[in-house]
């Protein structure tokens, strides 16, 4: 897990179509984004446990090494299927067992969860903001 300060997490989120925080896009989901750190990005590397293609949010569950010989499950919030599909996502974008890298805007309180910013898929393709 690596942590990065971002000048504009908002920009990355707007690009990837996750619509909670950004000011430029058609943003806002069914809850406030105040729980997320707007100035920090966390990069995770792990294995997809599940991808919930659901309303009001899709969720990416990723098993990440915890540094103690085990793993920790992270819950990564994405947009709703209708919005994501219009920006190129599909219900099969992530599959269980895929080895991926994913960048999130972490929860401020340290919970193993965050808002999706970008990912490098199992195919090597990137989605969203992963520079």
């Amino acid at each position: 897990m690596t942590t990065t300060n971002l000048k504009s997490l908002v920009a990355g989120i707007a690009v990837c179509g996750v619509l909670l925080l950004g000011g430029a896009g058609p943003v806002q989901a069914h809850h406030s984004g105040a729980m997320f750190d707007r100035n920090k990005a966390v990069d995770l590397e792990g294995v997809v446990k599940a991808f919930q293609w659901t309303n009001p949010h899709s969720w990416l569950q990723v098993e990440v090494a915890d540094g103690k010989g085990g793993t920790k499950e992270w819950s990564i919030e994405c947009g709703s299927p209708n919005t994501l599909a219009r920006t190129g996502w599909r219900k099969t974008t992530f599959k269980s067992g895929d080895k991926i890298k994913v960048r999130i805007g972490p929860m401020i309180d340290g919970t193993a969860a965050g808002i999706f910013v970008g990912a490098q898929l199992a195919t090597g393709e990137t989605l969203g903001e992963m520079k």
């Binding site: 925080l21 806002q28 069914h30 309303n55 819950s75 599909a85 219009r86 919970t111």
Partner: protein, 271 residues
């Protein structure tokens, strides 16, 4: 003249009379233009982008605000709500996946929109929610005082003048269960509005609102919203939103938004 020809003449006359009647009811020259397709709001869910502080603010961003023409009493209420946003405790009725988004927030929703325009009624349908605003243009008046009661979306009637629909909205709940956006803007139960909808160009719907609130405002609040067609082929259509389908962000009794795991267990640190 054959019976068949008489039948077609009568049918044609009937259709022509109905169209003329609809045009008359809808206003002088019902000429709305093309509203087909799926639309989305331009900009984020700051309701009045022209007065946003900071200018690129996002609704829900701690400290973000707009400048509705509040009097001192309601400015104080707004400032208290801005503080709640900073604590992530602003009560937002739609987070509970049950109540309508209401007026005027129905012009401030993310995701897709449909505008169903007919001479006698126009429906504004939001994918998010979903929600519906029904505007009657068949000549009827607002509901009478002894019949109407406060609702989230209110009662809207109006008429078409060429390419412009003008309608008024009354009967709103005010601060009882409705917010305008997540900076914390609210209206009183005395709020009412006059709204104009027109096609600014082939790909843009322009909506101008003049919101009056004798309890909360010192003058009418003028806000313009714009919508553009979502590009794409015939795969672009309104889909279920279904807020309660897999809501892993319920709101706790203290107003904090929680996060659940896939089994429904709260995973927020310290909870």
């Amino acid at each position: 003249m054959t019976v068949k020809l008489k039948h077609w003449l009568l049918l044609t006359l009937s259709v022509a009379c109905s169209a003329a009647q609809a045009q008359s009811l809808a206003g002088a020259g019902f000429n709305p233009g093309d509203y087909t397709g799926v639309w989305r709001m331009v900009g984020g869910t700051i309701f009045d982008r022209s007065t946003a502080e900071p200018a690129n603010a996002a609704a829900g961003q701690p400290g973000a605000r707009e400048r509705p023409p509040y009097n001192a009493e309601w400015e104080k209420k707004y400032l208290a709500r801005i503080e709640l946003v900073k604590q992530d405790r602003l009560p937002d009725p739609i987070s509970n996946c049950g109540t309508p988004i209401g007026f005027p927030r129905i012009f401030n929703a993310p995701d897709g929109y449909e505008f169903v325009v007919t001479p006698k009624q126009t429906w504004v349908l939001t994918e998010n929610g979903p929600n519906a605003l029904r505007i009657y243009t068949d000549g009827r008046k607002h509901l009478p005082d002894d019949f109407i009661w406060p609702t989230y979306t209110g009662d809207s009637v109006g008429s078409w003048q060429g390419d412009t629909l003008t309608f008024t909205t009354i009967g709103l709940r005010g601060e009882d269960g409705t917010i305008v956006d997540r900076t914390g803007i609210i209206l009183s139960d005395a709020a009412h509005a006059t709204t104009q909808i027109r096609k600014a160009d082939a790909g843009t719907i322009e909506i101008k609102l003049s919101i009056e609130d004798p309890k909360a405002f010192t003058r009418p609040w003028l806000v313009t919203k714009r919508f553009t067609r979502i590009p794409g082929g015939d795969e672009i259509r309104i889909m279920d939103y279904a807020c309660a389908e897999n809501n892993r962000n319920p709101v706790a009794a203290d107003g904090k938004t929680l996060t659940l795991d896939t089994q429904g267990k709260v995973i927020d640190a310290g909870r």
